[in-house]
């Protein structure tokens, strides 16, 4: 009989919890949470206990067996559908040492650069690879997918273009999902889209006036052409040219940069990342020189540390939405770091020659296939192509596609007369032969030996420029070398496999190994997002179950799993509200009320949903100021679209008046968006839908155990009441656009009829088994126990540290929710010791810092989560008390303000070994402030990093190896 999974997931056992409760003077976890959560919103007010539709908790073994059953309902055929998704070979050394390695997948976004040098280097490899292949000056650290990257390119063009036009031109030969996404996003912002066929004869008159133009290169039809003329026309019109380019094709054809593009976008999926029924994959965005500071997303740059050594860090962070708020031009936060790391490492492992060979083999197979079809007198739509060809078979297209399916191959039905075929890295001669057979070719063939590789690429577009010349792409050819490189980078970093990451509002809980198991199963990895429905029944069942469970625990009626991040869930939810108002004829309802304490992404998302942000004041406790709310509602009564509110609040407090707040908004005709960022403090005790929410996004990468991946992937489902269901994101290529409506018999369904927010119909399905397994193994009771343990841990930390640091906000009975804010401002005023000093000193003590200066400047927000055991929590408390004593010593004059263990933190091994020790404290104090560190020490590889230097001297590609000597 195995241990219940809840006891594996929750770090504190009954004995530890009773000791923690004693410190808090509480009888039980249930009584603690009941004392903290207002009675008026508790789930018992709204539904009978035991009414949950979640199945009873499964053991780890049972969950895996059920997942195996679902996987077996999927059918993996050879996918030659193309359209931006290609089969690929994940090098086993990357799969085992990155994708399946908690050192990589449990890390957080590298906001603390001193303890993140490994993945920062991996991301800068990705950036360098993208910049090299696209011929652009600077690439960012990944985008959510190709189609959202195109949208970001359009937004960038609107911001940077000097043209007064409101028109954006879209290549008719763009991917269908990109067309759909552009339409949805442009509509919300009032941008006029014009779809035009573009070619080398396009004239200025054809194009008219516009601020940007989008070109797919090669086209969705496979066509390879030279867009340099169109790009030049755009520049004459003061417009920006955005080119979506296939990275593998760029190994052989002239790059967008060389063609004059301002922005290059695309996906790196085919660089070793499984299709996964649509995701997750790393999209990319790169810009020409001069547009660096206009880029959305995160960007890794090079700076220097306190010892003058080169060190990596996130650059230009102030341009992100959390600071720009409603002035932000993008709401992207989390990206796809884990997948960008994989794609970058694929290039590191293969190098420029290897990539060229892979691309050459793809082009050669496409050429062979074309030859076989020409032998059958089948006309090809385009003469020049890389990997994708379209064949004209009047009236026969469906029959050809059906024949191919019988032979185990999925082709793309373009229309009744045209079939599309895409060749990839995995394609064999047998595959090519089968495809030809589906078109009516011979059943058997004597394969002729072909001495010279060939392609259908134009000579004048052959690439002559170098790429991937940096040493990192030319060193690790042997698996031994690659394995050690990945190990070395992983060792630089602090992830959950080393210790607690108490980041407030980030919920860095356990990502259990059993939850991760199915992610790399081929039945989940090998499916194309537009594969026929019959191939994906297992996935659809898993998706339906997860939708139903998430609906149940949040008190909503329906869920869409499409959004690829919390930010995209916000956008989808706000677009649903917008759609609802428009459908009711309320075209003027565009005002979005947002409390001043909200995360900046809320405001950015509202603006991108075409709304106008009006800020509502908060009181000194961080709660919504009811008087100001009522005044703002009255002022905007006719134009009120929505209120966005986070619950529990961003200050980690269960606001008492949330029911009143929601009712006031509803009374004025507005909708309530409840931001689910802090759901980990509520699950099992209260539900957004019960106390007034109309729509919410959830972060599966927080509350539901999808690992953070070092900054993505994320999944941000949007959950809504039935009246918003018709406006939730749909997708023109979805296998099934009907979704369950809960609260019924289970057979009632609803169509999600809004425009898409992600390239793939179900977002990132290959990581959904993680959240599925979590809910399946916890059951309703386990989820509630987890919430209780999380709230207990936060209150325990708050209590134990309250004698050393003021705890800023508390709700009823002096209790916090699942996180607590430690106010360092009095300490800073008295001693000069800053939030930065404390955060970096925690590294010396073997911890990742808590969240810094959010939601209040000069504070630390601590969220221990339910997964940490009491020993680790006490170790953190010991470290914080030790740091307080060190700060007191600075205040007492024992150490000068500019030379003490806090200001000089973190201490590297080199800094305490090399040269003469001149500091007023000893070396043991520097690196072993507590004795347990002697046997278990995390060594930061660099000292404190100079942020200003890196932002003034922007370098976002791999520095030469000599820089590190």
């Amino acid at each position: 009989m195995s241990q219940p999974f809840t006891q594996r997931h929750i770090g504190t056992d009954a004995d530890a919890q009773s000791r923690m409760l004693a410190v808090l003077g509480q009888d039980s976890v249930e009584s603690l949470v009941n004392a903290a959560v207002p009675a008026s919103i508790q789930v018992e007010q709204f539904r009978t206990r035991g009414d949950s539709t979640l199945p009873p908790a499964a053991t780890e073994r049972e969950a895996i067996q059920e997942l195996r059953g679902l996987a077996d309902k999927n059918t993996v055929k050879r996918s030659m559908i193309g359209l931006g998704y290609y089969d690929t070979i994940t090098p086993a050394v990357i799969k085992r040492n990155v994708l399946e390695n908690p050192s990589w997948y449990t890390a957080y976004t590298p906001y603390q650069p001193e303890i993140s040098q490994g993945r920062l280097e991996a991301i800068i490899n990705f950036q360098t690879m993208v910049a090299d292949l696209t011929g652009m000056a600077t690439a960012n650290g990944s985008m959510l997918d190709e189609s959202t990257a195109v949208v970001e390119g359009m937004l960038l063009a609107r911001r940077a273009s000097k043209s007064p036009s409101n028109r954006f031109i879209v290549d008719a030969d763009a991917l269908p999902q990109t067309h759909a996404l552009l339409g949805n996003r442009a509509h919300a912002l009032g941008i006029e889209l014009t779809v035009l066929p573009l070619d080398e004869n396009t004239t200025a008159e054809d194009l008219g006036d516009y601020f940007g133009i989008f070109v797919q290169y090669p086209g969705a039809s496979g066509r390879v052409w030279n867009p340099a003329g169109v790009i030049a026309l755009a520049h004459e019109n003061k417009a920006l040219a955005i080119v979506a380019a296939d990275l593998l094709a760029l190994a052989l054809i002239v790059s967008p940069g060389e063609l004059g593009a301002d922005v290059a976008v695309g996906t790196s999926q085919r660089f070793g990342v499984p299709m996964g029924f649509g995701g997750p994959h790393a999209g990319y965005l790169a810009v020409r020189k001069g547009l660096e500071r206009q880029m959305p997303g995160r960007l890794v740059g090079v700076s220097v540390d306190a010892a003058g050594h080169p060190a990596y860090r996130l650059s230009l962070q102030v341009r992100e939405q959390h600071i720009r708020r409603d002035k932000a031009t993008s709401n992207i936060c989390t990206a796809q770091v884990l997948l960008a790391v994989m794609a970058g490492m694929y290039a590191v492992y293969h190098g420029p020659d290897g990539l060229k060979k892979i691309a050459g083999a793809v082009a050669w197979h496409a050429d062979r296939l074309a030859g076989y079809l020409e032998d059958l007198d089948i006309e090809l739509v385009h003469a020049d192509f890389f990997d994708t060809l379209q064949a004209r078979v009047p009236g026969r297209a469906q029959a050809v596609v059906d024949n191919a399916r019988d032979l185990g191959v999925n082709l793309w039905l373009v229309d009744q007369d045209t079939v599309g075929v895409s060749v990839d890295e995995t394609t064999t001669h047998t595959d090519i032969h089968r495809v030809a057979q589906a078109f009516g070719g011979p059943e058997s063939r004597n394969f002729a030996f072909v001495a010279n590789s060939n392609s259908r690429l134009r000579d004048d577009l052959a690439r002559t420029s170098d790429y991937l010349t940096h040493a990192v792409f030319n060193t690790h050819r042997s698996e031994t070398s690659m394995m050690r490189y990945l190990k070395r980078l992983a060792d630089y970093d602090y992830a959950l496999d080393r210790g607690m990451i108490p980041l407030g509002s980030c919920t860095m809980k356990l990502n259990a190994a059993t939850e991760m198991e199915a992610v790399t199963w081929p039945e989940f990895g090998g499916l194309h997002p537009f594969a026929p429905r019959a191939d994906v029944e297992g996935y659809l069942e898993l998706i339906r179950q997860l939708e139903t469970w998430l609906t149940d625990v949040t008190g909503y009626d329906t869920v869409s799993l499409q959004p690829n991040a919390g930010s995209q869930g916000e956008l989808a939810g706000l677009l649903a509200i917008r759609g609802f108002h428009l459908a009711n004829g309320d075209v003027d309802r565009t005002v979005c009320l947002i409390p001043s304490s909200a995360h900046g992404t809320n405001a950015a998302s509202a603006v991108l949903a075409g709304m106008r942000v009006v800020v509502v004041a908060c009181d000194e406790l961080g709660n919504v100021d009811l008087d100001d709310l009522n005044a703002k509602i009255a002022l905007h009564a006719e134009t009120l679209a929505a209120l966005m509110i986070t619950y529990p609040s961003t200050h980690g407090v269960y606001e008492h008046e949330v029911g009143t707040i929601c009712a006031a908004v509803h009374a004025a005709g507005g909708q309530v968006y409840v931001d689910g960022a802090n759901l980990n403090a509520l699950l099992g005790f209260a539900r957004f839908g019960d106390f007034g929410g109309d729509v919410s996004h959830l972060n599966l990468h927080k509350t539901f155990c999808i690992p953070h991946g070092g900054g993505g992937p994320g999944v941000g489902p949007v959950a809504a009441k039935a009246h918003l269901a018709p406006f939730l994101p749909g997708h023109p290529l979805a296998q099934d656009d009907e979704h369950y409506l809960l609260g019924s018999t289970g057979t009632e369904t609803v169509v999600h009829g809004g425009g898409p927010v992600s390239a793939a119909p179900y977002g990132s399905p290959s990581i959904l088994p993680i959240s599925w397994a979590y809910v399946r193994m916890m059951g309703a009771d386990g989820l509630k126990q987890a919430t209780g343990a999380a709230v207990l841990a936060a209150n325990y930390v708050a209590k134990q540290l309250s004698g050393h640091y003021p705890v800023l906000y508390a709700g009823d009975n002096g209790l916090v929710a699942h996180e607590c804010i430690l106010d360092l401002r009095p300490l800073t005023a008295a001693t000069g010791v800053t939030v930065d000093d404390v955060a970096k000193r925690l590294v010396d003590y073997g911890f990742h810092a808590p969240t810094m200066s959010f939601p209040v400047a000069g504070t630390l927000m601590v969220e221990p989560t339910e997964s940490e055991d009491l020993g680790e929590i006490d170790r953190f408390i010991e470290a914080m008390i030790g740091i307080k004593a060190e700060a007191d010593a600075v205040a007492a004059g024992t150490w000068p303000a500019d030379d003490n263990p806090l200001r000089n933190a973190p201490h590297t091994a080199q800094s305490v070994i090399e040269g003469e020790w001149t500091h007023p404290y000893d070396r043991e104090t520097a690196v072993y402030p507590v004795r347990t560190l002697i046997r278990n020490k995390y060594w930061a590889p660099v000292r404190r990093i100079d942020n200003a230097y890196g932002d003034r001297n922007l370098v976002c590609a791999c520095p030469p190896p000599e820089a590190f000597e």
Partner: protein, 123 residues
Amino acid sequence: MADKTELQYTAEHEWVLVDGDTATVGITAYAADKLGDVVFVELPEVGSALAAGTVVGEIESTKSVGELFAPIDGTVAEINDAVVDSPELVNSDPLGEGWLIKITFETLPALLSYAEYTAITGE
């Protein structure tokens, strides 16, 4: 470096030094201090027309992105290329070498005196 008591000010923490029909504009020491280490300055193009109160540029620090508002209607006569190359001048000498733009104007709106401005900042 200009004498701060003789400059005129806006509520957006900018200073204005008037010389004939030309106004030199920068951000105040108070604003520079609040922004922290300035890392990037984006200024309008020479010759472009400005409308008072509109955003015409950006001042980016390691902590936030501040906006540069045009204090008066006019035309950009000159921009400080030195501050574009070395944004830290905004911190080291906000009222002198850290000036941002020069504007030619026809009429000068009512601006704040040093005393009125310090009443806003409370310093």
